[in-house]
């Protein structure tokens, strides 16, 4: 016993059960650690995945915008002017391409116009998305699929297509490759409301409500064809025209040559006969001295003021002197002229006298009243501010009365003429369909209905009276009761007015017994058609107007009427 007690240390041994229990606890601990690690990894990965923002943009542009469709554009009769077609666009995922060289060679068998180096650079790297070629045809898509190159795929894009080609180019404008409007009505549709842009982004593939324009494609075609004919016939550098519905302000046709192909918008920037930037819209963004067509405005203003009556006579025997300058008539009669004669013979002297009787400040105020000094409120974004002096001096007022010394767009003139024949009610022009009831809300009286009747008589007189400058037009458009005023403005060449380079205008309205349409045609630098013909506006802009009316009037539901009674009824009672 003593031996045992002497031993200092006590030996303690765990029982078998206890040691097994400890071992199990240790194992459970390790398993827990392992499980926590595994679950932690899984959880961490989940968080990582959840936090990743998937890049839904394609080279910085949202996918929705690229595949966005645009509403079809229809003319007033429901004929398509712009439609969307679905086309495949080829893209590549470089990180999934295994053999770049093979992909390049195979792709070039189908698309040989792709640059080899460019393509190799494009397909190399670690990017997730690069465009290879956009807007292909379904046939090419199938051939590329058959190549079986991994990492190539297609997105269906909407591409704008203009079935009317160049005919309505300046009206429609164009879109860029991302389907955003860059000019014309396409741009206006985008600028019009942000809500619409958003709905475009959301409305992928959905049928969108078509937009109806006021244009009549048949009339547009006639105008386009006749303007093209004018370029050839009169060897002109440019020609343009616009036709308005006077009651509603709707633009029935609008064309400007030279033009571009909206299906290939880069043609807008091509030189035309060596002239840069010549393909702009001359109707809205060109401002010109519109010459004698302004006499309609001067006379309308004067007659409406009451200071000048239609029975008045004016001494046009001698030119009007302003210091060193004398203003004379082109084909002067040099006698005392009645007011209708002043208009018919386009007497500058007579018009100055009429303007002076009205007073230069009242004349300037009348120009403001008919909106000549501000851009016309209009949907097309291509606009230029008119140049009208803020205050008229004696001489500027005199030249302005026959359309020199101030520049406005042809659209200004069309709107003014439309107002003059529409019982004096001016309505802002529009590219969209508008009913007469809607237009009436926008009516703004600029002259009285009585003056309007007198202006109608003057315009018709210029077409039927012997020696009237609109007679060539009336010969062609006989029966459609058209009338108008010519304007032959000398162009400024090297800082001086040149007597053989003209800018010709014809501002007309028809049928004048019950007016419905107003039209302005311009022909820039026309030459004589043959040895017998002249170069003044009646010979070119007038004839073009006549041919357009002759073709378009039946389309617009106007039947010819040769009865002389209609013209007699236009004569104001004072002159009968």
């Amino acid at each position: 016993m003593a031996i045992i007690t002497e031993g200092a240390e006590t030996i303690s041994l765990d029982g078998g059960r206890k040691s097994r229990g400890n071992l199990t606890k240790a194992r459970i601990r390790w398993v827990i650690v392992a499980l926590v690690l595994v679950l932690g990894t899984v959880g961490g990965r989940l968080i990582q995945l959840g936090a990743t923002v998937t890049d839904s943009t394609i080279e910085g542009v949202a996918r929705d915008v690229i595949t966005a469709s645009r509403p079809p554009i229809l003319d007033r009769n429901g004929l398509e002017m712009a439609v969307d077609i679905r086309v495949p666009s080829l893209f590549a995922e470089p990180r999934r391409i295994i053999d770049v060289e093979e992909a390049v060679q195979k792709l070039r068998t189908v698309l040989p116009d792709l640059n080899e180096d460019w393509l190799r650079k494009r397909l190399t790297g670690d990017k997730g998305f690069v465009w290879v070629k956009r807007e292909l045809t379904p046939a090419i898509r199938d051939r590329i699929f058959q190549l079986g190159v991994p990492g190539l795929d297609f997105v269906t894009e909407s591409k704008r297509f203009y079935p009317s080609g160049q005919e309505a180019s300046h009206i429609l404008g164009a879109v860029n490759i991302d389907n955003q409007g860059t000019m014309g009505i396409e741009k206006h549709m985008d600028d019009d409301s942000l809500a619409m842009l958003q709905s475009i982004g959301l409305a992928r593939g959905n049928e969108m409500t078509p937009v109806s324009l006021s244009v009549d494609l048949r009339v547009q075609h006639v105008m386009y064809e006749q303007l093209q004919d004018a370029l050839v016939r009169y060897k002109a550098v440019a020609a343009a025209g616009v036709m308005l519905d006077i009651k509603t302000g709707e633009v029935i046709a609008l064309a400007s040559l030279p033009d571009f192909d909206p299906n290939n918008p880069s043609t807008l920037f091509q030189d035309y006969n060596g002239v840069k930037n010549d393909r702009f819209n001359r109707i809205t963004s060109g401002i010109y001295e519109l010459g004698s067509t302004f006499k309609t405005i001067t006379l309308a203003g004067a007659l409406d003021s009451g200071k000048v009556r239609i029975t008045d006579k004016f001494d046009a025997r001698f030119g009007v002197r302003f210091g060193r300058f004398t203003i004379d008539d082109f084909h002067g009669k040099h006698r005392v002229l009645s007011l209708p004669e002043v208009y018919k013979y386009s007497s500058n002297i007579g018009t100055i006298k009429i303007m002076q009787q009205l007073g230069k400040d009242d004349f300037r105020a009348f120009l403001s009243k008919i909106g000549m000094d501000k851009p016309v409120p209009f949907e097309l974004p291509e606009m230029r501010k008119p140049k009208v002096p803020e205050k008229f001096s004696e001489i500027v007022a005199a030249t302005s009365s026959f359309g020199h010394g101030l520049s406005v767009s042809p659209l200004h003139m069309a709107r003014a003429v439309a107002a003059f024949v529409n019982d004096g009610y001016m309505v802002p022009p529009t590219m969209y369909k508008r009913s007469e009831a809607e237009a009436r809300q926008l009516y703004e009286p600029v002259i009285s209905p009585a003056t309007s009747a007198e202006v109608r008589y003057l315009m018709r007189l210029n077409a039927i009276g012997a020696g009237g400058s609109g007679s060539r037009m009336n010969k062609i458009a006989n029966g459609y009761r058209a009338g108008g005023k010519t304007g032959t403005a000398e162009k400024v060449v090297n800082g001086r007015y040149s007597s053989n380079v003209n800018f010709n205008v014809f501002a007309s309205a028809f049928p004048l017994d019950n007016p419905r349409y107003a039209m302005v045609i311009i022909v820039d630098e026309p030459k004589a058609e043959n040895a017998q013909s002249g170069v003044t506006a009646g010979w070119n802009a007038g004839e073009v107007s006549g041919r357009i009316i002759q073709r378009a009037a039946p389309m617009l539901g106007i039947s010819p009427d040769f009865s002389a009674m209609l013209d007699t009824n236009l004569v104001p009672p004072e002159l009968r």
């Binding site: 679905r86 494609l217 006989n478």
Partner: protein
């Protein structure tokens, strides 16, 4: 008893297994059908948009006019002149209707061998 219960549960789970797998596969089939149909619709919409564009292109005056010009000579096509238009008011009045009674009398007299013209000639 417990063995019996176990057997039933094993059977149930087997049936469940088969059912769930069957469902899964059928859903996958339907899903791929849906995708296929969507692709088809998309392709047809694309084709339709092309056909519509084609149709409106063919209907454009800009497209029709050159065709008219090409066949102008063969078909003697010219623009309508003002004189070719007219209205209902300009149509002449309908000619007076024939008198059936007088015609019947004439025919019956001819049948009877009496020719009024002959009589007139004889009378002169």
């Amino acid at each position: 008893m417990i063995k019996m219960l176990n057997a039933i549960m094993v059977c149930t789970s087997l049936v469940g297994l088969v059912g769930v797998y069957g469902l899964k596969y059928s859903v996958e089939d339907i899903a791929s059908d849906k995708v296929r149909m969507e692709r088809k619709i998309e392709r047809q919409e694309g084709d339709l948009s092309l056909l519509k564009a084609d149709w409106s292109y063919l209907n454009q005056p800009a497209h029709v006019a050159p065709i008219v010009a090409r066949h102008q000579e063969a078909l003697a096509l010219v623009p309508t002149a003002q004189e070719q238009f007219s209205g209902m008011a300009n149509l002449p009045m309908r000619p007076a209707a024939p008198d059936p009674a007088a015609l019947d009398a004439l025919l019956s007299s001819l049948d009877a061998g009496i020719d009024p013209i002959e009589q007139l000639i004889e009378a002169n």
